[in-house]
C-alpha cells in the first residue's frame, strides 16, 4: 500500500460527515421549512433570539453528555451539576461584579471535583454509571441547598453582559455554544488523544491490550463532561437574570436525547459532538414551533414526543431488516 493510499484512508476516517450529522441537518432544515409554513412567527427574529441562547446551553450540556456516553456510561448528575453551578455563579457574587471571577473559578473547581468523583465511582468501584451519577446528583443538590437554602441571587451585570451582548446581531451565548462544539470536534477527530478516547470507548479491552490507560480516559470523560456542564451553567446564569436553584432539572432527558439524535451510540464508541449540538438546536426549535402553533399544551407534548420517537427510531430500528422482511412478504404475495 502506498503512502498516498494510507493518507486517504486516514482522512476518510476523520473527515467523513457522519450519518447522524446528515440526519440531524436534514431534520433541522425540514423543521425550519415546516416552521416557515405552519408557524412563521416561530422563525421571527424575536422568537429566534429568545430560543437560541437556551439551545446553546443545551448544546453545551449535550457535548458533555456525548463524552460520557462515548465511554459507555450515562451521566444523570447533569441536573444537580448545572443547578449547583448556576447557584455558585449567582449566589456567590450576590450582584457584586468584582466577586464574579472567583465564583466562576469556584464553579469550575467544583466541576472538576464532581467529575473526579463520578469517574472514580464508575471506573474504580465499578458502580453502574446510572446509580453512581444519580447518587452524586443527590449529593450536589445537598451541597447546593446547604450553600444557598434553595435561593440563588440575581445575576451580576457583568455576567449578563458576557452572555447577552450581541455581535453581528447574535447573543454571545450562541457563539460560546458554537465554539465549544467546534473545539470538541477538533479535539476528538483531529488529535491523538481524541482518537484514543474514541478507541477506548469503542472497545476498552482492546484499548487496554494496546497499552492505553483506559481508566484515565474514562475518568477524563466524566471530568470533561462536568466542565461542559459548568460552562453551560455559567452561561445560563447570565441568560436568566433571576434564575431558580433548580435550573438544571430541565436538562437531564434532553441532554441524552440530543446525543442519541446526533447519532452517538448509547453503547459507546464514536461520538459526534457537532451533531449533538445541532440536535439541541432541533429540540429547541421544535419547542418554539409547537409553542407558536398555538395548540393546547397536551398536543404540544404529543408533537414533541412523536418527533423524538421518529428521530430515535432512525437509529434504533434496523431498517434493513424491516425492508427485507416486508420485501419478502411482498414477493410471497406476488407469487401467490
Amino acid at each position: 500500500m502506498s503512502t498516498t493510499q494510507i493518507r486517504e484512508v486516514k482522512r476518510s476516517a476523520r473527515m467523513q460527515v457522519s450519518r447522524g450529522m446528515k440526519t440531524v441537518l436534514a431534520g433541522v432544515i425540514f423543521l425550519y421549512i415546516a416552521s416557515a409554513i405552519f408557524a412563521p412567527t416561530s422563525i421571527s427574529r424575536v422568537a429566534q433570539m429568545g430560543m437560541l441562547p437556551f439551545a446553546a446551553c443545551l448544546a453545551i450540556v449535550g457535548l458533555g453528555q456525548t463524552l460520557v456516553i462515548q465511554q459507555g456510561g450515562i451521566d444523570l448528575s447533569v441536573a444537580g451539576s448545572v443547578s449547583l453551578f448556576v447557584v455558585i455563579v449567582t449566589w456567590g457574587p450576590d450582584r457584586h461584579d468584582d466577586r464574579l471571577i472567583p465564583a466562576v473559578l469556584a464553579a469550575f473547581a467544583a466541576a472538576i471535583i464532581t467529575g473526579l468523583i463520578n469517574g472514580a465511582l464508575v471506573t474504580k468501584t465499578k458502580l453502574n454509571s446510572i446509580v453512581a451519577t444519580l447518587g452524586v446528583n443527590s449529593l450536589l443538590y445537598g451541597v447546593m441547598m446547604a450553600l444557598s437554602g434553595g435561593s440563588p441571587r440575581r445575576t451580576t451585570d457583568r455576567l449578563s453582559h458576557f452572555t447577552n451582548n450581541k455581535t453581528f446581531g447574535l447573543q454571545h451565548s450562541v457563539y460560546y455554544g458554537i465554539i465549544c462544539a467546534v473545539i470538541l470536534t477538533i479535539l476528538l477527530k483531529r488529535t491523538v488523544i481524541g482518537r484514543r478516547f474514541e478507541a477506548v470507548g469503542a472497545n476498552p479491552r482492546a484499548a487496554l491490550a494496546t497499552g492505553l490507560k483506559v481508566g484515565r480516559y474514562q475518568i477524563g470523560a466524566y471530568v470533561a463532561a462536568q466542565i461542559f456542564y459548568c460552562i453551560a451553567g455559567v452561561i445560563l446564569g447570565g441568560v436568566i437574570s433571576q434564575p431558580t436553584a433548580y435550573q438544571g432539572d430541565e436538562f437531564v432527558l434532553p441532554s441524552v436525547a440530543v446525543v442519541v439524535l446526533g447519532g452517538t451510540s448509547l453503547l459507546g464508541g464514536r461520538g459526534f459532538p457537532a451533531a449533538s449540538a445541532l440536535a439541541a438546536l432541533f429540540l429547541k426549535q421544535l419547542d418554539m414551533f409547537v409553542l407558536s402553533l398555538g395548540v393546547p399544551y397536551g398536543v404540544r407534548t404529543i408533537v414533541i414526543s412523536i418527533s423524538l420517537m421518529l428521530g430515535i427510531a432512525l437509529y434504533a430500528v434496523n431498517w434493513k431488516a424491516v425492508r427485507s422482511k416486508f420485501g419478502a412478504k411482498g414477493r410471497e404475495l406476488q407469487a401467490a
Binding site: L76, N137, S241, V252, V295
Partner: protein, 362 residues
C-alpha cells in the same frame, strides 16, 4: 403560591447520600411565657409538626419561617418538628407518619402531591392528631379525613386582576395569562376569576387557555413569552401568578426592543425593582400585584394550635387574596423595590424584608 418541582430522576438515588440533604430538622421553640398570648393559644402543652411537600425555594423558606414565628407566640407549644418532602410524594407521606410516631398533637401539612396525600392525612387524623392541610386541596372531608382544610380563594385573585385590567384598559385588549405546571388548580381557578370579570368581547384572551404553561420556571417563561411576543404583535396585558418568575423573560424582551404592557401579578422584590427600573421608558407599563401569601401558613398553624391546645379557633377558614401594589392608584401601596435586598424577598409578607434576607444567609 404552589411551587412544586418534580425531580423524578432523583428518586432512586436517595440511597445513602440523601442523608446529606438534611430532611428533618428540629426546632426548639421558646417555652418562656410571654405577655399577650394570642387567643388561639390554649393552655394544654403540646408538640407540633409541620411537613412541607417541597421546601426548596425562597417562597417556602419564608413560609416555613412564618410558621416558626407564629409558634413562638404560643408558649404551650414546647417543640416544633419540621420535615421537607423534597418534592417526593413517598417522602412526604412517610414524613407525616414520622410526625405521628413522634407523638405530635398538632400537624400542619402543605400537601403538594394533592390527593395522593389523603391516606396519610387520614391516618394522622385517626391517630388523634389535629391535622390541618393548607393551600393545596387533597380531597377528603373535614371532620372525617382531617380537621380542617385552610385554602385560599384563587378565583378571587383572578377577579382582582380582572377588575384592575377593566379599569386600566377600558377599551379592551389582548390578554396573555401565565401560570405554573399544566393543569394546576391555582392557575385554573385564577383563570375562572379573570374570565368571570372580563366578559366583554373587547377583552380577548390570547395564547393557550386557561393559561400558558411556564412551570413557574424563569427559563421556560422566557421561551413562552418570546414565542407569544412573536406570535401576537399586540399584547395589552399579562397576568402571572408568580411575578418574579417572568422578570428574566421581560428583561430579555425589553432588550430586544419590546414594549412592556400592563401586568397584573403577584409580588416579589425583583418584580417591583424591574418596574422601578423600566417604567420611565415604558409608557404602557402599568403594574398591580396581589400578595403572594407567605402568611397563609400562619393561619393554618393558628388553627392546628387552637384545636390541639384548647385555644379559641380563628374565625377565618380560608386565607384571603388581597391587593398589594398598584402603580396607577398607589393604593394600597405603590410598587415597592428594596434594591439593598435580594430579588427573592416578598415585601407583602408579615416578616420584614431584612429578616427574610437573613434567613437565606444563615
Amino acid at each position: 403560591m404552589i411551587r412544586f418541582k418534580s425531580r423524578a430522576a432523583v428518586v432512586a438515588s436517595v440511597i445513602s447520600v440523601a442523608a446529606l440533604t438534611i430532611a428533618t430538622s428540629v426546632v426548639a421553640t421558646s417555652s418562656s411565657s410571654a405577655a399577650g398570648v394570642p387567643s388561639w393559644c390554649g393552655p394544654k402543652k403540646i408538640t407540633m409538626g409541620f411537613t412541607d411537600g417541597f421546601g426548596g425555594n425562597s417562597w417556602r423558606l419564608v413560609t416555613t419561617a412564618a410558621v416558626r414565628e407564629e409558634v413562638k407566640l404560643c408558649p404551650s407549644v414546647t417543640k416544633l418538628y419540621y420535615a421537607d418532602g423534597q418534592g417526593k410524594t413517598d417522602k412526604a407521606i412517610s414524613d407525616i407518619k414520622g410526625m405521628v410516631a413522634k407523638g405530635v398533637k398538632a400537624l400542619v401539612v402543605f400537601p403538594d402531591a394533592g390527593q395522593a396525600m389523603l391516606p396519610a392525612l387520614r391516618s394522622a387524623f385517626k391517630a388523634g392528631v389535629k391535622t390541618v392541610p393548607y393551600r393545596v386541596w387533597a380531597g377528603g372531608t373535614a371532620g372525617k379525613d382531617y380537621n380542617l382544610f385552610v385554602g385560599s380563594d384563587f378565583v378571587l385573585a383572578g377577579k382582582l386582576w380582572g377588575e384592575w385590567i377593566k379599569k386600566n384598559l377600558p377599551n379592551g385588549g389582548n390578554i396573555l395569562s401565565l401560570s405554573g405546571p399544566a393543569g394546576n388548580s391555582q392557575g385554573a381557578d385564577e383563570a375562572k376569576g379573570l374570565h368571570a370579570v372580563l366578559t366583554d368581547p373587547k377583552y380577548k384572551f390570547i395564547g393557550a387557555q386557561p393559561f400558558e404553561v411556564t412551570n413557574w420556571d424563569p427559563g421556560k417563561a422566557q421561551e413562552v413569552l418570546t414565542a407569544a411576543i412573536a406570535k401576537y404583535p399586540q399584547i395589552d396585558a399579562i397576568t402571572t401568578d408568580f411575578g418574579p418568575s417572568i422578570v428574566s423573560a421581560l428583561q430579555a424582551a425589553v432588550d430586544s426592543g419590546w414594549k412592556v404592557p400592563a401586568i397584573a401579578g403577584s409580588d416579589g422584590n425583583v418584580f417591583g425593582c424591574f418596574y422601578q427600573d423600566n417604567h420611565a421608558t415604558q409608557p404602557n407599563f402599568k403594574m398591580m400585584t396581589i400578595s403572594t401569601q407567605n402568611d397563609h401558613s400562619r393561619l393554618a398553624a393558628d388553627w392546628a394550635i387552637a384545636l390541639a391546645t384548647g385555644g379559641k379557633t380563628p374565625t377565618a377558614k380560608s386565607y384571603p387574596s388581597t391587593l398589594f401594589e398598584d402603580s396607577v392608584s398607589g393604593k394600597p401601596s405603590p410598587v415597592q423595590c428594596r434594591k439593598d435586598l435580594p430579588g427573592d424577598v416578598y415585601l407583602s409578607a408579615k416578616m420584614s424584608g431584612d429578616a427574610q434576607a437573613k434567613l437565606k444567609t444563615n
